[in-house]
Amino acid sequence: MFGDRPPSSMAAARSLLIVAAVLVGIFIYAWAFDITDISLEKPQDPERRSQLSRALRELFSPNIFEQDTDSEMVSVNFMATNNCPEDVDIEQPARDENGPYIVLSEECGFSDDVLVIEGFNFEFHPRNSGIIRWRLPNNTIPITRFELDSDGHFRQEITIPRLGRVSGDDPHQIEAESFIPTGGIRFTNTSKTVFEKMVETIFLALMATTLALPIAFALSFLAAHNLMRQLTMPLGPVLVGFIFFPIGWWVGATLLAMVGQFGADSWETTDDWDTVQALLSILFGAGVVGAFAGLRMLRNMVEGMDPQDLKSLTRKDGQNNSSDIIPAIFKASLRIASGIVALVFVMLVVGIIGGLAVWLGSEVQGLLFFNDLGNMVATLGELVELIIKIIGGLLGAFYLASMTSTLSAPLFKLTRDATIVEHTLGAILSATVTGMILYGLAEFSHQAALLILLVPLAAAFIGSQISPMIYKLIFPGDKYVKAQGARKWTLIALSLVGAIIIFVIVFVAMNAARGVVDGRRPLTEEVDVLSAGIKVYSYRALLIGLGLGAIMGGLSGVNSSFPFGLVVYNTTRTILNTMRSIEPLIMGIVFVIWVGIGPFAGMLALALHSIASLGKLYSEQVENIDQGPIEAVLATGANRLQMIVYAVVPQIVPPYIAFTMYRWDINVRMSTIIGFVGGGGIGFLLSQQINQLRYQEAGVAVLAIAIVVTVLDYTSAYIREKMI
């Protein structure tokens, strides 16, 4: 459109555009100026200035050291009244001419009068200090400090403080006290507390980083685009695996957890019966190992000496031989059996380790030097026993899901040439899975009002997948070529439209306005479905899921390729990004509610944030590695895990160490302020000192933070430089 105009007007238009952009920019900054409340009046206010200089002066006068002092104190009487008699005569305490004494220029006066105080015969010390106080009958006001000259003499002009209405005729006293340092210099209690809290802070950061490290390490591979991109599976096995996942969880959390609990209990030796039980558990373990070895041998016998001989694949070229099916079933059941035995063994070992740790920890705890160690071991053991159900559930779920999806894969392949079967199966399985997902989300959204959006959002996501599928069905493109140009934009627009339409429909159908507008949780009213009570809300979600899933699965069929890796990648990324956007201070508040005020809460908050942050940093390192070794290792016939161990890990070790150091550095800095919300460490102390206006003590904390952060900064920079 600009091309049609003569060049000169184009240039004019462009400069106009620039002027307009600059103007808009200026207005934006003016607005920002206003919003941020930038004003020069308050900083010029003399009162604020003096407050500032006082605070800064105290911050920069940290009371790190202290020393015992001797003091000499003398006082004189003073008549405070606004009509002084001509001849002031008040009684003064007896003066020792050899000891210290002070002399006043006036012996009578009132507020705001100026008075000169002179002191004589004080003991001189190069570091001594003195203070002049005004002592009223019921109150003492510090007036000023004084310095002695080398003769033990000082002369100080003071203004009489505002005394208010003077009650009675009792004379006031002006006293001067001079301090002389004696004895050794030592750290103040503040310094000692700050030191303790600093150690706590560093360890808090260390624990948070350590806790985050393995989790972030594992997540970083799932969040690496280059590793996950190629990972695709046929849709059928994925769906089957998903259906069996919760079943596996239930079985694992019940049966496998029982095995683990058995292993754990066998160490609680208090009476004879437990010795028997311990023996039993050893026998049981031996039995499990034996069963495993036996099954392994049987498998090798069935599958030949080299169980994975290339020769056995020869038939792939031709037709399937029906006589292979019986041995195939036999082989599969052997595989399942040995898998289950292995799981039982793992659970037994986990349980025994947990129980052993608790027992060992409690035994060691009494011993002098090992107290901390025993406590740690016992707590870790307790943790294992606490989560043994979760371990069992996870193991069972993943095992059953992967086993069923692997075993079902060849069956789905058989339907490759029967289109109707392929798509009908796809519709049924996909409906089941999406029904399960939406039902689960609906049940979960009873927790809080805004979670009511989960079901419409999930449905919208499915909708965004369906509409491009329909388009592709009507206008099939080249199946090997990614959509480009106009087609690509059409598909994107279609998926957006599909998402919005489905979102609106489901939003209305689920009455989600109840949560969003009214802030109420979904109805818990139940209906009778197949003679079982089910919440109306979840039932609707289930029906929607069944419908959408049937459409999606029916359109794609069980043999279509499912971008499993990309789904995992996107899910992991989303979780990491969301977690990263929540500041540790906010997480700290939540954890303080859960585990109480103290460093434990701060550590958990920092650990959670570090997982997100390290996970992202790590995964970017994985994305930056040289792809060549991956290709080479895969070409040798290595599996994906071996590929990661041999081609990826050696390349990422140096940046991982560097980033971990960097994160520890960040965590130390963060943990200095996590205490402001009760997360322990030096921040807690600092916030108390600041709230109580004890700036000199706060100065000690600030100084300690500065030193530790600087030292750590240089150390981590040095190590990072060495590593990369």
Binding site: Q308, Q484, E631, A635
Partner: protein
């Protein structure tokens, strides 16, 4: 016997790298694939062990359809097919022997390999293969401390650890100087002649191809332009393959 049937590859961005390529390679042949950069040589080699998924067609090796193999089967097939690369593709920070041992990963128990444990027999074999390519003394150096020619020999040793029956070499000498190129090509020839390993090797230079090939296949823009004896490539054929303006360069 390796049989390529109607192989085509379209990349997701729409670029078609191979058009309907078919040929057979009898066991024990030293086949050189020549062609300009971008003519599809690397794609063709990678379609054979499915580092790149072909779009159409089949690759049948010793009666097994590689293109239809599932993941597990593909691993078993891949471990019998060695591959060396133009950029060597060694893990630079690992030492030489670890790189060589990684050629054994398809055979070993995965659980052990996670802890970097290889049987003494495998370790001995790795040293033996390094001896064969003449750099046994470098076994415990870091891979990136070696020269280009030495790194490529490590690459060959790694492929040899697989006890391959077929060797794919993707421009194995393109990053090397002429003298080193010949030494690397000599090692490949030795594998072919002494061990009877079938070699599929892509090369830029016709002169190198003439020296080492039993047979030459030329690719041009993803299509087979020539298939025959090395000495059949005359001036006219050369211009067909490399374009009118090309001049033959001799590596001595």
């Amino acid at each position: 016997m390796l049989k390529i049937e109607n192989l085509s590859k379209v990349y997701p961005n729409g670029f078609q790298a191979l058009y309907d390529v078919s040929f057979e390679v009898p066991d024990g042949q030293f086949l050189v694939i020549i062609g300009l950069s971008g003519s599809g040589k690397s794609t063709l080699l990678r379609c054979i062990n499915r580092l790149i998924e072909p779009s159409e067609g089949r690759v049948i090796w010793n009666g097994i359809d590689i293109t239809r193999a599932n993941d597990e089967e593909l691993r078993l097939i891949r471990r019998k097919i060695g591959m060396v690369f133009q950029q060597f593709n060694l893990v630079k920070r690992s030492n030489v022997i670890t790189n060589v041992l990684s050629g054994r990963l398809g055979y070993v128990n995965p659980a052990w390999s996670f802890f970097n444990y290889f049987s003494p027999a495998d370790r001995a074999k790795a040293l033996e293969k390094l001896q064969r390519v003449g750099i046994k003394e470098k076994a415990f150096n870091r891979a990136d401390a070696l020269s280009g020619g030495q790194q490529q020999r490590v690459g060959i040793a790694r492929a040899l650890m697989q006890e391959p029956e077929l060797m794919l070499a993707d421009e194995p000498v393109a990053s090397l100087d002429p003298a080193t190129s010949h030494s690397v090509m000599d090692y490949l020839q030795a594998l072919n002649k002494e061990d009877g390993i079938t070699v599929l090797c892509s090369l830029h230079f016709l002169s190198l191809a003439r020296t080492y090939a039993d047979r030459i296949i030329a690719l041009k823009d993803g299509r087979m332009e020539f298939d025959g004896d090395p000495h059949e490539i005359d001036e006219k054929r050369f211009k067909d393959i490399y374009g009118e303006d090309a001049k033959e360069v001799h590596i001595s």
